[in-house]
Structure formats: structure tokens, C-alpha cells
């Protein structure tokens, strides 16, 4: 028996020593890695694969039906439209090699030799099919368009093998950004055989796990550097940091400020804008939010500076209306401080509305977005100070989409809205009472009229003026409590270079490469 005891003791001692040894050895390794990261040599190399952490599962592989911004930003790498945005926000020809705009007629010339990932050449038939599908013109069934801006399209004409004409019902100078809608093979939606033309092609989607894409060797433009990119769904936003610290994720784009701070010296943290309108969206169909004074009280009660400090480390851009500040051409910056934090004013307004004792408010938040959940928690505290008893209801993204966004069954919600680079995509899409996406149930005839006027005019200055007025109306009516354009903090493995920010919500993996080592 004595032998057993000493043997166990020895074993324990050995194990203990090996623990220490392993710990030491690995520490040295990480040290040298970190110093490697500081030596910057930015010579691009081809090849390699990366893992990108994403916050949510994809909602659909159908590029026309994907709703979540988080899905669309991935599909950006796989699908292309007739045109495609570049990092400056200009729309450049993509599937089309050239285009001309003539009032109500857009003419596109098909890029020569361009093929789908499945090997088939892109034809004008495919273009017609894709645009028709988005515009709800397939079979002439008169369905609701998948892209609401496409309701202006009258028909798509195939002129010859390489030219397509899109005929509009009326002039629309804002249509171009929407024509970045994916071009897919004819009839591919019917049998789910989607195929794109982008720099990457789809490999597989494992639900809840990952979405993998690989380099398109026959890409018409600058080919991607990386061979393969895996977008890994990180079930718990909080485990992402641990995974990065240990090196199993190379790029993670949605760090909160505090998480970014814990990446110091391990990964590079790049800072850009999310190009979202983050707000506490209020459902006007719900009492007491139908009362403008109550909504204004909420706006006054929220201390956006504090929210910015706590959840975004002060790096967000505060906004005061339904457009993000990066939209410099249209954004009304004087509205930013329209509602400056004031508990007194908020209480006064509530009293006027007959709610001096406050009221219960339910804030629905998609649980996968740590940033919005955190924001909602800070808001709850701030609202408490004016007597509004807010409660948070966390839901899964799919539930949010069906209950809040589509079903409009909610009181208030914290979320960020993205858009293409057309103000219409924000201001008309979400607030025009006839729009299917008016999920806040805002209904103001004056506003609707402005929407139509803005859409109809072709004069740029006039357009800016109309959109300016609309923004003012959104703010004065306190349609929702607008907060900020959140900062986009991207943690990137120091061995990688080329991560490029866009003025809209996309993640371009084609420009990312491993440094020459």
C-alpha cells in the first residue's frame, strides 16, 4: 500500500511540473507572435484561409430574400449586381461592364466572358430574370417587389445578347444603388440552385455552425487573395473574445468597446463605422407610444452621451434622426442635439400626457447582438429616472424578424437599421405609411407626400431639401429615439492586412491578405 501512495504522489508531482512547463513554453510563443505583429511588412501574398466570427446564423441563402444585414454583408462576397459599391461608396459596373442612364431608361451592357460559379456564362436572360424577380414582375403576377425600390420598374427588355434595358414608370435618380441586387441564373430560385459571380463562391452552410466560401478562380476582376474564408457563428458573443485570444478566430467585426480593450496587444483593432441607424424604435400602434409627448419624453430621458460612453467607449457617432451621419450629403447634422438629455423636460412631458406615474415599457432586443442588448440595459436605467419602468425581452433573431419586423407585435425595440447608399432606402422604406417595412407604424400624410416628392424630383438640390425636411419631421415627431451610428470595431489577426471599411454594411473579404512573412 505504501508503494501505491508514493506512486500516486509521484504522478501528481509529474503532472504538476508538466503543467508549469507547458505553461512556460507557450508563454514564450505568444510573446514572439505579438512582436511579429508589430513588424509591418505589407506585401500581399496569395493563399491561406481565415476564420471570421459572425454573430448570427444566416437567415437565407437566397440573395434576394435574405433580410438580415448580417447575411447580406456575407453574401456580398458571393453575389454581384449589375453594379457594385466600392470602398468610397461609388457604384461601379460589375456584371454589367457599362451603363447609361436616360431619364426613365437604364441601359446595361453585359460584361464579356463573365461566368457564374457553376461555370455557365451570364446571359441577358439571367439579368432579366433576376431584376424581374426582385421587382415582382415574374410571370406578370404583380406580386409585391422583393426590393421595394423596384416598384418603379415597368419592365426589363432584352435588346440583344449583351444589352438589357430597364424601363421605369417614372424618372428615379436613386435607383442605381439598388441595382446592386444579385444577378443569379435564370430559374435558379425555383430549385434553390443559386450561383453568383462574386470573387468567392459558396462551399457550404452548416446551420448554426458556419458558412464557408472559397476563391473564385475565374473572377472577372481583381481576384481574392485568400483561398478560403469560413464565417463561424459564435453562439455566445462573449466566447468570441476567448476564441480570438486563443487564435481560433482571425477576424471578428463586432467588438464592444470593452471587448476591444481586452484584445490589446494580441490582435489589431480597426475602427470604422457600422453605417447603421441605431435607435430605440417605438411602435406607434402601441399605447402610450401613440402620444407624441410620450415619445418626446423618451427622447429627453435617454442620455445618448452616456450610452455612447458605456457601450461604445465614446467612439460612436450620435445621431438625431433616421439617417446615419456618414451620409454627409443628406444628413441633417443640426438635428443631432435636438433632444439634449433632460430629466425635467421628460417628466414634464409625461405629466402633460397624463402619465406622471410613468408607465411600463417592454424593450424587445435580438439576443445575439450584444451591443443592442447592452444599449437596452443602459436605457432601462436611464428611463427609470423619469419613471418609465422598462423591461427587456430578449428574443432570437428569427423571432425578432417575425414578431417585430414583420409582425409589428412589440412595444419598442433596440436595433440598428442598415441601408444601401440611397436615402430613400432609409427614409421612405421605414417610415412611409404605405411601405411594408414601416415597422414603427409611423403614419403621417405630410411625410408620405414628401416621400413621393423626393422620389419624383431629379434635381439634386431639391432632393436634398426634401430629405432634409423629412429628417426634421422624424425628429420633431420623435418617431423613434435615435441614438447613434455605432463604431465598428474589428479585431484582426496581426498577420492579416487589407481589411477595408465601406460606407455601408458589407464585409469585403476579397481585399484581405496574409502579409509576407
Amino acid at each position: 500500500m505504501k508503494k501505491v501512495r508514493s506512486a500516486v504522489g509521484l504522478l501528481a508531482l509529474t503532472l504538476f511540473c508538466s503543467v508549469i512547463l507547458c505553461g512556460c513554453g507557450d508563454d514564450k510563443n505568444t510573446g514572439s507572435q505579438a512582436s511579429n505583429g508589430n513588424v509591418s511588412s505589407s506585401e500581399p501574398t496569395y493563399g491561406g484561409s481565415v476564420v471570421v466570427g459572425i454573430q448570427q446564423d444566416l437567415d437565407s441563402l437566397d440573395p434576394h430574400k435574405a433580410v438580415a444585414a448580417g447575411t447580406k454583408e456575407l453574401l456580398f462576397n458571393v453575389y454581384e449586381g449589375l453594379v457594385k459599391p466600392d470602398p468610397t461608396g461609388d457604384y461601379k459596373p460589375a456584371v454589367a461592364s457599362d451603363y447609361t442612364v436616360d431619364d426613365t431608361e437604364y441601359t446595361f451592357t453585359l460584361r464579356e466572358g463573365i461566368t457564374f460559379h457553376n461555370g455557365n456564362p451570364v446571359t441577358t436572360e439571367d439579368i432579366k430574370y433576376s431584376i424581374d424577380r426582385c421587382a415582382g414582375l415574374l410571370d406578370g403576377s404583380g406580386k409585391e417587389p422583393l426590393v421595394s425600390a423596384f416598384s418603379v420598374i415597368k419592365r426589363v427588355d432584352i435588346v440583344d445578347e449583351s444589352v438589357v434595358k430597364i424601363i421605369l414608370k417614372e424618372a428615379d435618380t436613386e435607383l442605381l444603388p439598388f441595382l446592386s441586387a444579385a444577378i443569379i441564373p435564370k430559374n435558379s430560385a425555383e430549385d434553390h440552385s443559386f450561383s453568383g459571380t462574386g470573387p468567392f463562391e459558396e462551399v457550404e452552410w452548416k446551420e448554426q455552425e458556419s458558412y464557408t466560401i472559397r476563391k473564385n478562380e475565374n473572377y472577372w476582376g481583381d481576384p481574392a487573395y485568400l483561398d478560403e474564408v469560413t464565417f463561424k457563428v459564435v453562439a455566445n458573443a462573449n466566447t468570441a473574445v476567448a476564441e480570438m485570444q486563443a487564435g481560433s478566430i482571425d477576424i471578428y467585426p463586432y467588438m464592444t468597446d470593452e471587448q476591444a480593450a481586452s484584445m490589446d496587444g494580441i490582435y489589431n483593432v480597426l475602427e470604422g463605422n457600422m453605417n447603421l441607424v441605431q435607435a430605440l424604435f417605438l411602435n406607434h400602434a402601441e399605447k402610450p407610444l401613440d402620444d407624441k409627448r410620450v415619445r418626446q419624453a423618451i427622447c429627453y430621458a435617454l442620455n445618448r452621451e452616456e450610452i455612447n460612453t458605456i457601450v461604445a467607449g465614446g467612439r460612436g457617432h450620435l445621431i438625431g434622426t433616421g439617417l446615419f451621419s456618414g451620409f454627409t450629403k443628406y444628413y441633417q447634422s443640426d438635428l443631432t442635439d435636438y433632444y439634449s438629455h433632460s430629466v425635467e423636460k421628460a417628466k414634464e412631458l409625461l405629466k402633460e400626457a397624463g402619465l406622471e406615474d410613468g408607465f411600463d415599457l417592454e424593450i424587445t432586443v435580438p439576443s445575439n447582438y450584444q451591443f443592442h442588448v447592452d444599449t437596452a440595459q443602459v436605457m432601462t436605467e436611464q428611463l427609470k429616472q423619469v419613471g418609465i419602468r422598462a423591461k427587456i425581452r430578449q428574443v432570437e433573431w428569427a423571432t425578432w424578424l417575425s414578431d417585430v419586423y414583420a409582425g409589428r407585435k412589440y412595444q419598442s425595440t433596440v436595433v440598428g437599421l442598415d441601408s444601401t447608399l440611397a436615402p430613400k432606402d432609409m427614409l421612405a422604406k421605414f417610415y412611409q405609411s404605405s411601405s411594408e417595412k414601416d415597422f414603427v407604424n409611423y403614419s403621417n400624410p405630410e411625410y408620405d407626400e414628401l416621400c413621393e416628392k423626393a422620389a419624383a424630383t431629379t434635381d439634386d438640390d431639391e432632393k436634398i431639401a426634401y430629405y432634409g425636411e423629412m429628417q426634421k419631421m422624424l425628429t420633431e415627431d420623435a418617431v423613434s429615439a435615435y441614438v447613434m451610428d455605432p463604431p465598428l470595431l474589428v479585431a484582426v489577426n496581426p498577420k492579416l492586412e487589407g481589411y477595408t471599411f465601406y460606407p455601408l454594411y458589407v464585409m469585403d473579404m476579397a481585399k484581405v491578405y496574409y502579409q509576407h512573412s
Partner: protein
């Protein structure tokens, strides 16, 4: 086995158990009137500060005081644990007593149902209830009550059957006491020790189960302080602020361990007599 040795020694289990659980309960009760800071108050200037003064256990990523949140979280956790055990032990004991005392087909049916529930993995049943009735504290308590009834029922049944065999029950019957009266006067008082020990271990189990559900986001909803939820949130800041995980973790451990030791202590004490 070893009863002799324990009998002479101090009942350390009882002492330590009461001490630890008492401390945690005290913290929880005090939190009703006083916490060093408002457990939900945020402060952007004090994010993720290390333990020290004035924040004894540091602050989390909202600048909330971890110690105050641990106090408030312990209160919520203990509240759930106690109400669950109160309800399930009363119902469970009733089922067990009836089943054990009267026996027969009633016993057979009740115990088969009991076994079925017992065989279910605990979290799974709670998840099932939540999936049907939705997320919320009441539903969670309801799920746990169902979950906890069988073990009480089985324990009580065993006690009753054991005592039925004893002489004094036979004598009581002989002098013509009614069934209910015997139950009330003799059986129940004698099962007290076992019963208390079961309640204590039940509290351990309830605390562990509640924290798991809150960790999964299916228990107490934010911003209400909950130990499991605090752990989930702290996971993202582990390198920078490990204290925001250790505080609630130790609190769960404290309550569970305290109740566990207490249960053991009560059991041993019962054997000693």
C-alpha cells in the same frame, strides 16, 4: 459505518454549512434594504475596475458594482430556490406519505409517474416547460417545482414505510388511533430530520439548476441581477476582468456548498441520536 467516530467529533458539516449558508442568506436579506451601490446603476467611468475600494469585488463592463450585484443576485437565486423547495417539498411529502402509508395500487401508480419524472435529465424538463410556456421567472419556478416533487415523494415514502414497520405504530394502531392521526402524531414528526436534510440538498440542486438556466438566457432576464446571467456576461471579459466571473461563481458555490454541508450535517446529527 463510522457512526461512532462522528458521534464523538464535532459536527463540522453542520457548523460550516450553517455558517456559509447563513452568511449568504444574510447578504441576500440585507440586500433588500441596503447594498453598497445600486446593483443596476451604471457608471461609464468605472468600467471593469479591479477589486478594491470602494468596489469590493470590482465592477463589470457597465461599471456596476459586482458585490452589490452578487448580493442582489443571491437574493433572487435564494428566493427561487426556497420557494421551489417549499412548494415541491410540501406537495412531494404529501404524495410520498399517501403513497407509502396506504400502499397498494395508488402507491404503484404514483411511484411509476415519479420514476418517469426522475429519469428525465433535470435541465431538459425545465427547458421543455420554458419552451411551452415561454421565458420567465414564474415559469422557471413552476418547472423546478415539478422537477423536484419526485425526490421528496420518494424520500417521504421510504420514511413512512420504514416507520410503519416499527413497533410504536403498531401499538398506536392497536389502541385504535386513526390513520391520519397516526400520520400526524407519529410518522411526520419522526421524519423531520430526513425531511430537513432533503430540503437543504434541494436548495443546492435548485441553485445549480437556476444558475444554469439563467446562464442559457432562459431564466431571470436582464437587467435584474442573476448569478448565472452575470457569469454569462462576464465570459467576454475573462482576461480583463476575471473578478466579474469569480464573484457570482463563488456566490453560487457558497450557497450550494453551504446547503449541501448543512444537509449532510443534519443527516449525521439525526443518525447520532
Amino acid at each position: 459505518m463510522g457512526r461512532k467516530a462522528y458521534g464523538k467529533k464535532r459536527n463540522w458539516n453542520l457548523i460550516f454549512g450553517s455558517l456559509i449558508l447563513g452568511t449568504m442568506a444574510l447578504l441576500a436579506v440585507v440586500s433588500l434594504w441596503y447594498t453598497p451601490f445600486d446593483p443596476n446603476a451604471m457608471n461609464g467611468l468605472w468600467k471593469n475596475t479591479a477589486p478594491g475600494l470602494p468596489h469590493l469585488l470590482g465592477t463589470d463592463h457597465f461599471g456596476r458594482d459586482v458585490f452589490s450585484r452578487v448580493m442582489a443576485g443571491s437574493k433572487n437565486t435564494l428566493l427561487i430556490a426556497c420557494s421551489v423547495n417549499l412548494a415541491s417539498s410540501v406537495i412531494g411529502a404529501a404524495v410520498g406519505v399517501i403513497s407509502g402509508y396506504f400502499g397498494g395500487w395508488l402507491d404503484e401508480i404514483l411511484m411509476r409517474v415519479n420514476d418517469a419524472v426522475l429519469a428525465f435529465p433535470s435541465v431538459l424538463l425545465a427547458l421543455l416547460v420554458i419552451s411551452i410556456f415561454g421565458v420567465g421567472m414564474h415559469n422557471l419556478v413552476f418547472a423546478f417545482v415539478i422537477l423536484f416533487i419526485p425526490s421528496y415523494a420518494r424520500m417521504m415514502r421510504g420514511e413512512v414505510i420504514r416507520m410503519k414497520a416499527m413497533e410504536y405504530i403498531g401499538s398506536a394502531q392497536a389502541i385504535g388511533m386513526g390513520s391520519w392521526r397516526i400520520l400526524w402524531k407519529h410518522v411526520l414528526p419522526n421524519a423531520r430530520g430526513t425531511y430537513l436534510a432533503s430540503v437543504a440538498i434541494g436548495i443546492t440542486n435548485a441553485v445549480l439548476a437556476e444558475s444554469s438556466m439563467s446562464y442559457l438566457g432562459l431564466g431571470i432576464q436582464p437587467p435584474t441581477a442573476s448569478l448565472g446571467r452575470m457569469l454569462a456576461e462576464s465570459q467576454g471579459y475573462m482576461m480583463r476582468a476575471p473578478w466579474s466571473a469569480l464573484g457570482p461563481g463563488l456566490a453560487i458555490l457558497g450557497i450550494a456548498l453551504g446547503a449541501g454541508l448543512l444537509s449532510e450535517g443534519i443527516r449525521v446529527k439525526g443518525q447520532g441520536f
